[in-house]
């Protein structure tokens, strides 16, 4: 079976599975204060009306440049942040507004893997304790049993059992990320949000972690929301990819469709900007002018119209909705 | 910036009201009242005392007393010093120029010493010179100010005869003449040195560490890559950045200097706010004491405001619109 067939088969099988996470019109705003009395004078619309679904066992990639709101989306989905509007349904249950112990119980099912594995590990704690902590938050466990369980988990993520007794600073970046993954896996979650899990790692280590994440997904039937700025990595990891720009999803498609036929001008520019480690390909680059506008003061209409090479008059007036223009291929652009 | 300053000044008002309530309550809680100063001590006639208490408003309910005090205060009437029998405002204002002069001189001395030593140490860390400077600094920090003051007087004033041993001016020179101002400068130098040396250590070490830290920053590498001479890098690129955190110190120093001046002023018989403060505590001169406490609180707040404004000037990153 070729890789291509494998992927096709995977896509087909996923189509029939249940939706695990359904995000509808999600908005997350930060207040901005100012003026004489430090009143809230505006909002940074970090996430502005974003909708997507993830099926069980699927990986949805979120890609975009810094400040596009992809991390905020991830955090809001995990309810690490309070959404300003919209709905988050997890296995059909609305978790948008739950709090306290209810939220605490729900969190068992979704975990996060962070970008900087070192900063997210307590330097004073033994690795074993770091991994045991989330488990002990939910249940009382026999100490010996738990230790055994954690050791096998460590082995599973490619660390020696002896790692249990060591501290985070004794590990390399890649190994620390494995610890972070082990901690996320400890509670046997259904959804893992991985926020730039490999961007701090070297290429050779990055591939190890990416491979590990893929293996684990199949082994534990995990669902991933995979967030990264590197489109190649996202494409490698994801079944479907959402492209974000200035708080909005501008395009969602399967990874092949997205690469083969990017529809949104931003996606086209993004893909063309990626330098390929292949001198045989000489791409015609679309180099965008200028910078991403400030999310505090976003342009009216289509957020991308200020830099869009194909912008028309209407683009500055109306924000185009995300709509399905081909089967499974959604885009928010007036061109379609 | 103006808007910011006004907002900060307005923001100080509730703070000052709170402080004034605390100051007033503390003064009322202190043992005895200041009747001893207001009432003829030879007349222990209870009727007379009662009459005076009534007259001085000590029998009013506390909120009324507070209100009377604070309204007077806002109008510049700080009450009458029970010890000096004069308006507390006059008594304080008489001393303010001396303390201000001493404070500014000691700040200048601190800055000169700290910059010289800090820049040297920061540029040549872990050398003999750096260690020597650190040693001197910690000794200066460790010596109690009264010991330092007495030592300075015996060494510089009595042995070397360089400075007068006390006072703020030679009374024999004509007020207002050039000689008068030289004499004032001459008198303030020694106490200012003692006072300034106390805070020099923290400034020096802070500056040193900040320079070392900054010298490892990327922009230093950039400057070197541009072919900028190392001296200029230290004296312009690094120093300019290292001054920024020092500005925060200035805010605290403003009021701390006056507090720190208590002992120095007393030993040098340099009549200023510090001496007055000590005096009014021991003599239960509550009107003066309360006015001084309010003044110091205000100075602390103002010092912080000034530091914040300066911060905006020295650090373009937080420049305020």
């Amino acid at each position: 079976m070729t890789t291509r067939d494998f992927i096709q088969e995977r896509i087909d099988s996923l189509e029939n599975r249940d939706v695990l996470l359904d995000v509808q019109n999600l908005k997350t705003y930060y207040p901005v204060t100012g003026g004489f009395f430090r009143r809230t004078i505006g909002h940074v619309k970090a996430v502005d009306d974003v909708s997507f679904t993830i099926r069980k066992g699927e990986t949805l990639g979120l890609v975009g440049e810094s400040g596009c709101g992809k991390s905020t989306t991830g955090r809001t989905v995990l309810r690490l942040m309070k959404p300003t509007g919209g709905k988050i349904l997890f296995e059909g249950q609305e978790i948008t507004k739950i709090s306290g112990s209810k939220l605490q119980r729900a969190r068992r099912d979704f975990q996060m893997v962070f970008q900087d594995p070192y900063a997210s590990l307590n330097p004073m704690q033994m690795v074993g304790d770091i991994i045991a902590e989330p488990i002990l938050n939910y249940e009382k466990r026999n100490k010996k049993e738990l230790e055994q369980e954690i050791k096998s988990l460590l082995t599973r993520v490619g660390l020696p059992e002896a790692a249990y007794y060591k501290y985070a600073h004794e590990f390399s970046g890649g190994q620390r990320q494995r610890i972070g993954i082990a901690r996320a896996l400890a509670l046997n979650p259904k959804l893992i949000v991985a926020d730039e899990p490999v961007s701090a790692l070297d290429v050779s280590v990055q591939s190890q972690v990416l491979n590990l994440l893929k293996e684990l997904q199949i082994e534990f039937d995990l669902t991933y929301l995979f967030i990264a700025h590197d489109l190649s990595v996202v494409k490698h990891m994801s079944d479907r990819i959402g492209v974000m720009y200035l708080g909005s999803l501008v395009e969602v498609a399967s990874n092949r469709d997205l690469y083969k036929e990017p529809l949104h001008p931003y996606t086209q520019a993004l893909i063309s900007a990626i330098p390929e480690p292949n001198t045989a390909i000489k791409k015609e680059r679309i180099v965008l002018e200028g910078d991403v506008p400030s999310p505090q003061n976003p342009p009216t209409g289509c957020p991308f119209h200020t830099r869009c090479p194909m912008a028309m008059e209407i683009c500055s007036k109306e924000k185009p909705p995300l709509k399905e223009v081909r089967p499974g291929h959604h885009v928010a652009c007036v061109l379609y | 910036m103006l808007k910011y300053s006004i907002r900060r000044l307005l923001g100080m008002i509730p703070m000052l009201i709170l402080i004034s309530i605390v100051v007033f309550s503390l003064a009322k809680l202190m043992p005895g009242d200041s009747l001893s100063g207001e009432i003829d001590p030879n007349n222990t006639n209870p009727e007379y005392i009662a009459e005076m208490r009534e007259k001085l408003g000590y029998n009013d309910p506390l909120p009324v007393q507070y209100f009377n005090w604070i309204t007077g205060f806002v109008q510049g009437d700080f009450g009458k010093s029970t010890k000096y029998k004069r308006p507390a405002f006059d008594v304080i204002m008489e001393k303010v120029p001396n303390t201000l002069f001493l404070g500014i001189m000691s700040l200048i001395i601190t800055y000169i010493l700290a910059f010289m030593m800090g820049m040297y140490s920061g540029r040549k860390p872990y050398t003999l010179g750096d260690n020597a400077i650190a040693g001197i600094n910690y000794i200066m920090l460790a010596i109690p100010s009264f010991v330092a003051a007495v030592f300075a007087i015996y060494f510089f004033a009595f042995n070397l005869n360089w400075f007068p041993f006390g006072g703020s001016v030679d009374i024999l020179v004509e007020t207002g003449s050039a000689e008068y101002y030289l004499s004032r400068l001459h008198h303030v130098l020694l106490p200012a040195l003692v006072l300034g040396a106390m805070s020099t250590a923290s400034y020096t070490q802070f500056l040193r560490n900040d320079i070392i830290e900054n010298s490892r920053k990327d922009f230093v590498r950039t400057a070197r890559a541009k072919g900028t001479p190392i001296k200029k890098i230290y004296n312009v690129h690094i120093l300019r950045n290292s001054i920024i955190p020092l500005v925060t110190f200035l805010g605290f120093d403003f009021a701390a200097l006056i507090g720190g001046a208590i002992i120095t002023e007393t030993i040098f018989t340099y009549p200023g706010i510090g001496m007055l403060f000590l005096d009014s505590v021991t003599n239960r001169d509550y009107p003066t004491l309360m006015a001084l406490t309010m003044l110091l609180s205000f100075l602390t707040l103002a010092g912080n405001l000034i530091a914040d404004l300066l911060y905006g000037i020295v650090d373009p990153r937080i420049r305020l619109e």
Partner: protein, 583 residues
Amino acid sequence: MKKNKSLLWLFALILVLSAFLAACGGDDGETTTPDPAEPADTEETDEDTEGAAEGEAQAGGTLVYGLDAPPEGLFSSAFYGIATDAEVIGIFDEPLIDYNENLEPVPNIASWETEDNKAFTFKFEEGVKWHNGEELTVNDWVFALETIASPDYDGPRYTNVSTIEGAEAFRAGEADSISGIEVVSDYEINITFDEARVNNLTNLWAYALPEAAMGDIPVAEMSASEFVITNPIGIGPFKVDKIVQGESVEFSKFEDYWNGDVNLDKIVLRVVDNSSVVGALQNGDIDMISLQPVSGPEVEPLENVEVITYPGLSYYYVGFKLGKFDNESQTIVEENPKYQNKQLRQAMMYALNRQEWVDAFFFGYANVVNAPVPSSHWNSADDSELNTYEYDPEQAKTLLDEAGYVDQDGDGFREDPNGDEFVVKFSHYATGNPTFESRAQAITQYFEEVGLKSELEMVEVNLYYDMIEKDDPAIETFFGGWGTGADPDPSGLWKADQLWNYPRYNNPEADKLLDDALNIDIVGTDQDKRTELYIEWQKIVNEDLPMLYIAELEEIVALNNRVGGVEYDVSGSNSPAEWFVTE
């Protein structure tokens, strides 16, 4: 490095500048020496050559007078509150009536006559000039008395005029003048008191105020006026040229001084912190200064300085709280049982080695006393008439045994006669002075040596006197000190109806003796008769011991050898007019 260098230059400049200023200071020092071009009035000399300098009095020169605490700046006899201000006033002003070495009043500007100790006639010297050129007349005295008697007066001297007939009415606003004062002429005045007392004269306020200068100032504003704060006017040998608040005063010779020649050209008064006194004396930066006892041993070895002592008017004691005072009724209303046993108090007196203690903490500048009247007062009892309570721990133990204070539980300390634990709770005031705690500890040590368990508590000084005055139960035995004035009458500190009778000593027999000594019907004008009564009283309080008398202090003065003409007795120094400096 450019910046570094400029900083270095700045620092160097400051050093150079200060060296230059130091040189200037030296020049200033030289200007204080007499100008040789000026004719020196050396022919007229004073016979009095006591003081440090040997040889004849010289005219001219500047004397630097040190003060070890800053004056408050109320430079008027009618308004001042502390001794340092009085020292300053003493240089530019004079009383109308002076006191001799026995603290008996002697005429200065005013002389007096009285028949009955009730009505007095005072006659003033003529030609006495104020520093502003006006002549002193009796009206200036009347002005002073009426100022003090005014209801708006905020100074502490009213008791010194309250006994004048009509003063109460004047103060109450019922009269426009004080009826007991009758001006006869510019130089003669009659003053009548409300009743005949033996001490009417010593109690009377004897300083004038310059009416011409101050007459227009409302009394309430007087204490803050320029004639008190910045530009005081007196009749003394020196006039005030300049005042730098809180640190120095410049005086110059008053050419129109009424009483003979003034030797010095200038007196500069400087405040010197205690820590600098020795150095300043050694360096000749100050010529004379009153010393704290602790400085004495340091100053004595200096070759250029002489240390002079003279009897003082203050004494220290350990008081017992014997009762509780009611401020409303002005009576002692309760008795504290703990120290009522006289034998206990006497035993504690024997337990104290007062001489050793005085030598240790006052460096010999104090004398042990056995009664509360300073030995300089004419009514002081001689030690031969009193029990001197020589240090005798054995006697103390015997007395305690007799009184039933014995060690019953074998812990080394005595219990009270009921067998309950007995602890001497001793309180001492705390200031910044570190020796206070050790001297207080020494006293508890003496008590413990005779088997009395003792506890020391150091109390902040302001709080301390407040607690004592209010008979706070936390104070049981306490360390204290009193300074007395020219009037030898101890009533104010000892009678049962006085707030300042801190031990709450209540002995009607003793109180009667004090009353009798002031009763003109009993003693008349006979001082011997009064002395007899006072000695009788001292015998009683020496026996009763409501307080353990410890020591009276000596006053210590350091004088530079170049200073002459300075004399001291218990009333203080002689007139500054007689002071001189030699080169």
